[in-house]
């Protein structure tokens, strides 16, 4: 931008007065710009105001990982991460369809959030200390607990990732995966050759054409790749090792606690709804007739659980009505009701042996 300003400075300014005037005007604009910048970073709640003003939630998703966020042939988005943004839109804009989808690759995702291009990043992104504290981002919770795994061709007859000594392994850059791979190899005294590709489809092309002998990324994504992208799922196998913890969840900008709270408690509301047995199908009936105080509270019948967040009391009702509870979202996108058929595992409620636990909404 600055360089263009030089460019216009290359013309001949007719007089001193005009030149000085131009300089003063430019300075003024600059100061105003900086004032704007600082006010925007300090003022909490600015994100929500912006969303309401635009009438749209800007949601950063992936460029296509089936089950998490992927557009179908009609341009309609589907997946856990997508449904979460719909839930957010239902909560704050009262309409789950008022979402602007920004498909982002791994390189662009944090910059897009940092620069304010998107309001929330819901794009199978792992929660780590470095990202949470060091990069101006905050994780609002997790919506899927994953682990990094390996996908290999069946013909290689490998049963464990520890047998990968000497292999060439494809990874997509800009992720935690390349670091996990280096650590796993170091810890197990095996030597692997890392082939890094900058975009997802380039990795797919390289792996499926046999350029590398293994592909490593989150196990859920590997399941999706094996089911949808391999063409022949039986020719490929996901190895049993999970070499890392990958808690995937929505991320927001640091410095806006109000918006952070809304995103975090939307995750909890989805979990709480599953725990209380509130589903997309029965939410109307329960709101009208349930006598369970926690259900009444959650659906805004008895208490107002929206007020502390700056929302109205029906917000949880709208969320469940538009996308269902967490269990329904899981089943529909990656679980039993999908082609991926991933088990709930850690992602079940505590009563079913998982760790998806919501603090009380009251």
């Amino acid at each position: 931008m600055g360089q263009q300003d030089h460019a216009s400075g290359c013309g001949v300014v007719p007089s001193i007065g005009q030149a000085l005037f131009a300089i003063v005007a430019a300075m003024k604009k600059l100061l105003w710009l900086m004032a704007f910048l600082f006010s925007a970073t300090v003022h909490a709640g600015a994100t929500l105001d912006g969303i309401r003003e635009h009438g749209q939630l800007a949601c950063g998703v992936s460029t296509g990982v089936a089950g998490f966020s992927a557009a179908d042939s009609n341009g309609e988005w589907h997946g856990i991460d997508v449904d979460f943004c719909r839930a957010l839109a239902a909560a704050v804009l009262k309409d789950p369809s008022k979402v602007r989808w920004s498909p982002l690759n791994t390189q662009q995702r944090f910059t897009a959030l940092q620069s304010g291009e998107i309001d929330v990043l819901s794009r199978n992104t792992s929660w780590t200390l470095g990202r949470d504290a060091g990069q101006g981002l905050v994780y609002a919770g997790y919506t899927y607990l994953d682990g990094q795994g390996f996908l290999v061709p069946t013909r290689l007859k490998i049963t464990s990732a520890k047998q990968l000594d000497g292999a060439e392994v494809c990874v997509q850059t800009g992720t935690t995966t390349e670091r996990n791979l280096a650590e796993f190899a170091g810890a197990n005294h095996i030597h692997v050759k890392t082939l890094m590709f900058e975009n997802f489809r380039a990795v797919l092309k390289a792996f499926f054409s046999g350029r590398c002998q293994a592909f490593t990324t989150d196990a859920s994504a590997l399941a999706s790749i094996r089911a949808y992208d391999s063409g022949k799922p039986d020719d490929y196998v996901v190895l049993p090792e999970r070499i890392s913890k990958e808690p995937l969840g929505p991320v927001v900008r640091r410095g806006d606690e109000d918006w952070f709270a809304i995103v975090r408690w939307t995750v909890f509301a989805l979990l709480e709804a599953e725990e209380r047995g509130i589903t997309q199908a029965n939410v109307d009936q329960l709101r009208a007739s349930s006598t369970d105080p926690s259900v009444q509270r959650l659906l805004g019948v008895s208490e107002d659980v929206g007020k502390p967040l700056g929302l109205d009391k029906d917000w949880v009702y709208r969320v469940i009505k538009s996308v269902g509870n967490y269990g329904e979202i899981f089943d529909r996108n990656v679980g039993a009701g999908s082609l991926l058929k991933l088990p709930r595992g850690l992602n079940a409620l505590p009563r079913d042996g998982g760790v998806m636990y919501a603090p009380p909404l009251r």
Binding site: M1, G2, D5, H6, G9, V13, I16, A19, A22, I23, A26, M27, L30, L33, M34, L37, F38, T41, T106, Q107, F110, T111, Q114, G134, Q135, G136, L137, L156, Q163, L164, D165, G166, A167, E168, T173, G174, T175, E178, R179, L181, A182, E183, A185, G186, V192, K193, T194, L195, M196, F197, E198, K205, A206, S209, G210, R211, Q213, R253, R254, G255
Partner: protein
């Protein structure tokens, strides 16, 4: 009076430029700090934590980001060097071929130029890469091109000298469980980048060579032939020296373009400077610093290349015209 006004205006322009730069700089710095990222190049000394598959100098995950950049730079330079040598040779031959007596061959050379000049380099690179990884055999069915030279999807495996206990030994590549190890390995990415750069640039160099040779006056050729020089000798002693002189500046431009174009390697996963910067900026969020490093390195490379070619040109001119500075 006029002079004073001019001087004042110039000061104003400089002040404006500095103010804009300073303003942008402080906006970026403030924004990064607000996000918890400390601007600056300190991150270069941090542990990189990732491996690079294709390296000319040793690198491991324990090394720093700075060393990763160095690896990227060496990778950029090595692929550019190979492509420069290959494209100058190929381009020179095709350029002279276009002017040759043999019309059919000349036509073939012209067709080559028209095909490779008019398709985007990136597309050529992707095509070469798709052909390589799509059609080469798996490592276990590798094609043997010579004693201990194997070509497969893993690349070109070659014997390579290395120091061992007894001195310099030739290490032969050996097929392991997955792929070859030992010796030297030219990855398909390296081969694809070098090949695509060579095809593309040689088409331009061919045109440069043709133009330069055609610019040498016909009368000189005729005079040389009349003096009894053979055709090869005429070309060698009369035409080429003069053509070379006028060829160097445009040739320098083509080589500069080649070096810059090697940055397209990032598209197929060859770990060149840009690819390393790409990975680094994603891991550290130091986007501005990484872009500054890329720009500074390429600018330096451009300046060095321009200076080398300029020096060569000046020396040629001095030697040929007999002027001593």
């Amino acid at each position: 009076m006029h002079k004073h006004r001019d001087r004042l205006l110039q000061v104003g322009v400089v002040a404006l430029a500095l103010a804009v730069l300073y303003g942008l700089g402080s906006i970026v710095a403030a924004k990064m700090r607000a996000l918890g990222v400390e601007p600056g190049f300190g991150f270069l000394w941090q542990r990189a934590g990732f491996d690079i598959g294709d390296t000319r100098i040793a690198f491991s995950a324990a090394d720093s980001y700075g060393r990763a950049f160095l690896v990227g730079l060496v990778n950029t330079l090595s692929v550019a060097m190979v492509a420069i040598v290959a494209s100058v040779i190929l381009g020179g031959m095709i350029g002279l071929g276009q002017l040759g007596r043999n019309r059919l061959f000349a036509w073939l050379c012209e067709a080559y130029v028209e095909v490779f000049r008019n398709v985007p380099l990136l597309l050529q690179l992707l095509i070469v890469y798709v052909v390589l990884i799509g059609h080469l055999p798996l490592p276990h069915e590798a094609w043997q091109l010579g004693p201990d030279i194997w070509l497969s999807k893993s690349g070109l495996a070659l014997p390579w000298p290395a120091w061992s206990g007894d001195g310099l030994m030739l290490v032969r590549p050996v097929l392991g469980r997955f792929t070859f190890s030992g010796g030297a390995m030219l990855s398909p990415e390296f081969i694809a980048v070098a090949a695509a750069l060579t095809f593309y640039t040689s088409a331009y160099i061919a045109e440069t060579v043709r133009g330069a040779v055609q610019a040498v006056s016909h009368r000189q050729t005729e005079a040389a032939l009349a003096l009894g020089l053979s055709e090869t000798k005429t070309l060698r002693f009369v035409v080429l020296p003069q053509a070379l002189r006028s060829m160097i500046p445009p040739l320098a431009n083509q080589l500069l373009n080649l070096i810059k174009n090697s940055s397209l390697a990032v598209a197929i996963g060859y770990p060149d400077l840009v690819a390393i910067a790409d990975t680094t900026l994603n891991q550290t969020s130091h986007a501005v610093e990484c872009v500054i490093i890329i720009m500074a390195v390429y600018l330096t490379l451009s300046l060095v290349t321009a200076a080398l070619m300029g020096g060569w040109h000046a020396r040629l001119l001095r030697r040929q015209t007999g002027v001593h500075a």
